[in-house]
């Protein structure tokens, strides 16, 4: 069996409201899987089910082959969890936070102490290990939570918005870190940052209202869902006349105008040639292909409306 995480028709309802709806998924071992979705999509709910904090209303899920319903303890032995909100113990020092976690995993001091040194060094917290976490900045607390999730060398790591509130340096160093883990661990993360998903994830799933909307690598998603044949054309003069011309061309699927700058969506890639035939080269200041971004995919799938 090559899957680290398997979900079979997982449904979770909160008194009548369905947060996750018959969700099925298989995540390949040793990959970084990214779950994207607007606020309230059901990402945290899925992570809580997979980490045995919450029972699904229907369905079952397996982590490294152990059912979250019947073998919760075995699941918890395998996983490390970085929750959406830091849940550090503010009455324990940074190091004691990690040590308690190690003890809860049944590790002995001789085993966990070297590991703690290593993790504190790696997260840049070695110098502050005897301080209490409420004297830390938000980013330092986040790094401590990540270090805590790694103490027992989990096989599957769940990260719920790991880089929210981090500065660009910390984000990048955390990314490097996650990339380094990939071979030995399966990583399941949620994020609102498209560049993060793009940079980090082997596979991306976009969900909303408890359903999966799209699934694939970043490249696949961009190809399949975004307006891949959109060109930006800026005219030197005669913009009004060209607006009429463009409206009359059959292979032009959409035109958006902002002054003399046009966004032209074509029916397919081959339409660029006939388009050029209708535009006089001397009137064009600039023409370029608009590279689709993951954000375009996300917005086109989930809509522009802000969630209440």
């Amino acid at each position: 069996m090559n899957f680290a995480i398997t979900l079979h028709d997982i449904t979770k309802s909160y008194d009548g409201f369905t947060a996750v709806d018959a969700f099925s998924l298989e995540v390949q071992r040793g990959t970084v899987f990214g779950l994207l979705g607007p606020n309230g999509a059901g990402k945290t709910t899925l992570i809580k089910i997979l980490t045995t904090l919450m029972r699904p209303t229907l369905g079952d899920a397996f982590v490294e082959g152990h059912s979250v319903l019947t073998a919760g303890k075995d699941v918890r032995r395998m996983i490390g969890v970085v929750p959406q909100e830091n849940n550090l113990d503010r009455y324990l020092t940074a190091r004691e936070n990690l040590a308690l976690h190690a003890r809860l995993h049944g590790m002995r001091p001789a085993v966990y102490n070297p590991r703690l040194d290593e993790l504190l060094e790696m997260t840049g917290l070695a110098g502050r290990q005897h301080d209490f976490p409420d004297t830390f900045s938000g980013g330092m607390q986040r790094r401590l939570v990540v270090a805590r999730a790694l103490v027992h060398e989990p096989r599957v790591l769940f990260l719920d918005e790991p880089t929210t509130g981090l500065d660009p340096q910390s984000r990048r160093s955390l990314w490097d870190h996650i990339r380094g883990l990939r071979r030995t661990m399966t990583v399941f993360l949620t994020t609102h940052y498209m560049d993060e998903a793009d940079a980090l994830c082997d596979r991306i799933m976009i969900m909303d209202h408890g359903h999966c909307l799209a699934d694939g690598t970043a490249t696949q998603l961009k190809d399949a869902f975004s307006r891949a044949h959109t060109y930006q054309v800026e005219f030197r003069n005669d913009a009004d006349r060209y607006q009429g011309v463009l409206a009359g061309l059959p292979f032009v699927k959409g035109v958006e105008r902002d002054g003399s700058l046009f966004q032209i969506t074509l029916a397919d890639e081959a339409s660029i040639k006939p388009l050029m035939d209708h535009l006089a080269g001397s009137d064009i200041r600039r023409i370029c292909l608009k590279e689709p971004s993951l954000e375009d995919v996300f917005i086109s799938l989930t809509g522009e409306k802000v969630r209440e």
Binding site: L53, M54, K73, R76, P83, N87, D89, Y91, L100
Partner: protein
């Protein structure tokens, strides 16, 4: 088995050790004030209750009161704080420990707080008081305090588990816990009650706590009716606390 409970209890004891001095000052101030105000202030008016000097009459109850209050406080607030504020319970729950480990660890932390603080008040009163007790009675007295701390720690755990709003924990304390304690006859003999309600009062777990503790310290024996009450209360509250926590976590 219960290694997780032991780790969680160890965490709570580490935190208690760090703040022990300020904790003790605040925890001793209250019973000591009562002891000085009633025990010495009223000494001229109440010479003896059933042949026992008044300060000695109230001392065992004050010590037990400190212990059970500390147990209830620690268990309720700590459970609430770790569940709702710090969310450390969630961190415990994604490790291989079970919910039983967590709730039992927390119950024993409340119990230990009660035991430590009760002991310190006991020592302070012992130093202040001119009479000496019979040390042979001590084991029975400690058993009594241990059972009562257990009961109140479990009650606190139940409150901290089911109550989400902190002000409601305060309300339970002032509406349930304080009346239960004061009705049970720390400051007056139960014979002051009209005979019609006395049997009811005698059934209260707190009556067993305070009357039992006084009898244990002064005579070395606990009336069997109180001992049975203490054991049953502790066992019952423990079961309910574990069950309640388990249910809450499965939501």
């Amino acid at each position: 088995m219960f290694r997780g409970a032991f780790s969680i209890w160890g965490r709570d004891m580490l935190v208690l050790r760090r703040s022990i001095f300020s904790e003790l000052v605040s925890v001793i101030a209250y019973p000591l004030t009562l002891y000085l105000a009633f025990g010495f202030g009223l000494k001229g008016y109440i010479t003896a209750v059933n042949g026992v000097p008044y300060p000695l009459f109230i001392a065992p109850g004050l010590i037990s009161m400190t212990a059970v209050n500390a147990a209830f406080d620690e268990s309720s607030w700590s459970m609430w704080f770790h569940r709702k504020v710090q969310r450390t319970i969630e961190e415990y729950r994604v490790t291989p420990v079970t919910v039983y480990d967590i709730v039992i660890g927390k119950i024993f932390s409340g119990f230990s707080q009660g035991a430590v603080k009760g002991t310190v008040v006991f020592l302070v009163i012992l130093i202040l008081t001119p009479f000496r007790i019979d040390y042979a009675n001590l084991p029975m007295y400690l058993l009594c305090i241990a059972l009562s701390s257990m009961t109140f720690s479990c009650l606190g755990t139940i409150c901290g588990t089911v109550i989400d709003k902190p002000e409601n924990i305060g309300r339970v304390q002032s509406v349930v816990i304080v009346p239960l304690i004061f009705m049970a006859g720390i400051f007056f003999p139960l014979s002051s009650y009209p005979s019609s309600i006395l049997p009811l009062i005698q059934l209260l777990p707190t009556t067993a706590v305070f009357e039992g503790a006084r009898d244990a310290l002064l005579t070395g024996t606990i009336p069997s009716q109180y001992l049975v009450n203490l054991v049953l209360s502790a066992a019952f509250c423990f079961t309910v606390a574990v069950y309640t926590f388990n249910r809450k976590m499965a939501e």
